[in-house]
């Protein structure tokens, strides 16, 4: 398990994160949601080991991450950023191969892994292409292949994938393709933690959701328990309606427009009241 215990983080006397805890279990998908500036990215950076000056502790498979060397840590967890630029004209295979950096495996095995993750990410047609010439969505798929290559080997200990708003620049089908890949990794004894902006993506893919506001947790628990009108409105300070979607067995969130005529608002309220889960 990857556990962040009672994390607090201050910058220049300002609290960025306040007593925040989260657990990422292998095989589970945990989403972190919250408004801009809620401390989501800082929390992810602390959990991934990028920052060292925080209060509380982060344990990965019961070992404190600050005691682990960067190469040992990278065997256990991979991080997918929002967007990655490469300044030199690397081919996509060279980019994906970087995921194998810390693995002491032979080159033939690494090549097999690279082939497999390229197949899973539908990149085989892009063989030999220069990373810089790909579109944003394709580049993100290459990066996903890279972090998959990092976690691909079978092992006895669980591993973790951290995603920082991975879908923010992707179109509809790319968003679902990427989160679907992340979800499929859960079957390989991998725990996933993702910062997501889209509440409906969070409710469709996550098992647990952490709501953050101004660095403090508002709610944390299984999707059906926390993806509610009151918690979302408290976190985002914006009116929403939430219904239970029978097809997916997941909550569905309808954010309301800022200026909606009262008559339409009443109709939406009437409809969602009939379908609400937290009446």
């Amino acid at each position: 398990m990857l556990e962040a215990k009672n994390i607090s983080y201050k910058v220049g006397g300002k609290n960025i994160i306040n007593h925040c805890s989260v657990e990422v279990r292998p095989g589970r998908f945990t989403a972190v949601v919250g408004p801009n500036g809620a401390g989501k990215t800082s929390l992810l950076k602390i959990i991934s080991g990028d920052m060292s000056r925080y209060a509380g502790e982060v344990l990965i498979n019961k070992r404190n991450i600050s005691d682990l060397r960067s190469d040992d840590l990278s065997i256990l967890r991979a991080v997918l950023p929002q967007h990655t630029t490469v300044n030199f004209p690397f081919t996509i295979e060279q980019v994906i191969e970087i995921g194998r950096f810390a693995h002491k495996t032979i080159r033939e095995h690494n090549n097999v892994v690279i082939d497999e993750v390229m197949q899973h990410t539908a990149l085989l047609d892009f063989r030999g292409r220069t990373y810089q010439t790909l579109s944003g969505g394709e580049q993100q798929r290459v990066q996903m292949a890279r972090v998959m290559a990092q976690l691909w080997d079978q092992s006895n200990h669980p591993k973790y994938l951290l995603l920082d708003e991975p879908t923010s620049s992707l179109d509809l089908s790319q968003q679902h393709a990427l989160l679907g890949l992340a979800k499929s990794l859960c079957k390989r004894n991998i725990g996933v933690l993702a910062i997501l902006h889209d509440l409906n993506l969070a409710s469709q893919y996550a098992d647990e959701v952490l709501f953050l506001k101004q660095g403090s947790p508002v709610a944390y628990g299984p999707v059906l328990g926390v993806m509610t009108k009151s918690i979302i409105e408290e976190t985002f300070a914006h009116p929403v309606e939430v219904i239970y979607d029978e097809w997916t067995n997941r909550p569905r969130v309808f954010p309301l427009m800022a200026r909606v005529p009262h008559s339409i608002q009443d109709q939406i309220k009437q409809y969602t009241y009939e379908h609400a889960i937290d009446r």
């Binding site: 991934s48 080991g49 990028d50 000056r53 060397r69 960067s70 190469d71 040992d72 840590l73 990278s74 065997i75 967890r77 991979a78 991080v79 950023p81 990655t84 630029t85 490469v86 300044n87 030199f88 004209p89 690397f90 081919t91 295979e93 060279q94 980019v95 994906i96 191969e97 970087i98 995921g99 950096f101 810390a102 080159r107 090549n111 690279i114 063989r127 030999g128 220069t130 810089q132 010439t133 890279r146 990092q150």
Partner: protein, 357 residues
């Protein structure tokens, strides 16, 4: 132009390295045959083989002397300096993820220049007239410029530290600040310098390979080769750093260790080169680009190939510098820029069309 199309780079890498090594060897032999005393390439091989007792050579004493005491040390000197500048430039560009970086960016060249002008000017202040080409002076100048280069680099490195981690942007700005300060002090030196000192210093800033001796080659060899070997070992971490520092760390790279090794090794290799041969611009900046554009951005190729390419470029430049205004000699820095720039601009326009940047 991109030879490599797959990640199975090891074959391409071997081909590129072998080809460049052969090119270097041919240039080296040809370069040895050129000069005021003509010696044919076959005669050179004979002389060299006779030295290890394999063949008898019919070469004259003059040919023997010129080859063994003048040309061989000078060309070895040239190869070492070119290789040091090439590999230092490519590893710094890789570390900083910035194609505009050159060894001067970390302050080493300007620090070394300050050390040099202190020695050139210093004699006047302490009241001894001293030559910088013979006796004590010929060792004092490299010593001071080496120390100057290292100190400037250490200050730059220290300036770049934020909360215990090296911030590349701050490091580069620190290098700019140190360079500006050093230039001011050098400017002050130039203001007070007499005609002769001024001339000595200007020639030094344009680079000069004519001071090569066996002693210097022996001293230079470990100081350039050891950093070059250490830097070659950093190919994979530097590839990962191309994605960004955070991404490299997430992939398992010990970023701080890589930064310290690269900066220190570059300071050592470049500091030594500048100390013995003055400031030879351009090689460290452009050779890595030429290698990247011709072959691959993979550092497993770029690092060793930049060392070989730097040596080749400097050998060619030196050949021209020695012959074009013979019996006089042009400063090497002029030649590296004059032959490197057009080639670089050609590659740049060719690459722009292929949208590789």
């Amino acid at each position: 132009m991109q030879i490599s199309v797959s990640y199975k780079m090891y074959n391409a890498s071997a081909v590129v390295i072998t080809a460049l090594s052969l090119l270097l060897l041919m240039l080296f032999l040809y370069s040895m045959s050129i000069g005021a005393v003509p010696i044919s390439v076959s005669e050179i091989l004979r002389i060299l083989l006779s030295k290890i007792g394999l063949l008898d050579s019919k070469a004259t004493d003059v040919q023997n002397l010129v080859l063994m005491n003048i040309r061989l040390p000078r060309l070895l000197f040239t190869v070492l300096i070119g290789a040091g500048l090439g590999i230092a430039g490519s590893s710094l560009q890789g570390l900083f993820r910035n194609p505009l970086v050159e060894p001067g960016t970390i302050g080493v060249s300007s620090g070394a220049a300050l050390g040099a002008i202190i020695v050139i000017m210093g004699g006047k202040f302490v009241g001894i007239s001293m030559s910088i080409t013979e006796g004590l002076g010929q060792w004092l100048l490299p010593l001071f410029s080496f120390i100057g280069g290292i100190i400037a680099t250490l200050i730059t490195l220290q300036l770049g530290k934020v909360e215990g981690k090296t911030q590349i942007t701050i490091l580069i700005l620190g290098g700019v600040a140190i360079t500006a300060l050093m230039s001011a002090v050098i400017g002050l030196g130039i203001f007070y310098a007499d005609e002769q000192q001024l001339r000595t210093f200007s020639f030094w800033t344009l680079g000069d390979l004519s001071g090569a001796t066996w002693h210097k080659v022996l001293l230079l060899t470990p100081l350039v080769l050891l950093p070059a070997i250490a830097l070659s070992g950093l190919a994979r971490p530097l590839n990962a750093i191309a994605l960004g520092e955070a991404e490299a760390f997430h992939s398992g790279v010990n970023i701080e260790r890589v930064k310290v090794i690269v900066v220190f090794c570059c300071a050592l290799a470049v500091g030594t080169s500048v100390a013995f041969a003055g400031i030879i611009g351009f090689v460290g900046l452009v050779v890595p680009h030429i290698i990247r554009m011709c072959f691959s951005p993979n550092h497993e190729i770029v690092l060793p190939a930049s060392a070989l390419g730097g040596a080749c470029l400097l050998l060619i430049s030196d050949m021209i510098a020695r012959t074009i205004v013979s019996p006089a000699e042009l400063p090497i820095g002029i030649i590296t820029a004059v032959i490197g720039t057009p080639f670089f601009i050609y590659l740049l326009t060719a690459t722009k069309k292929k949208k590789m940047f």
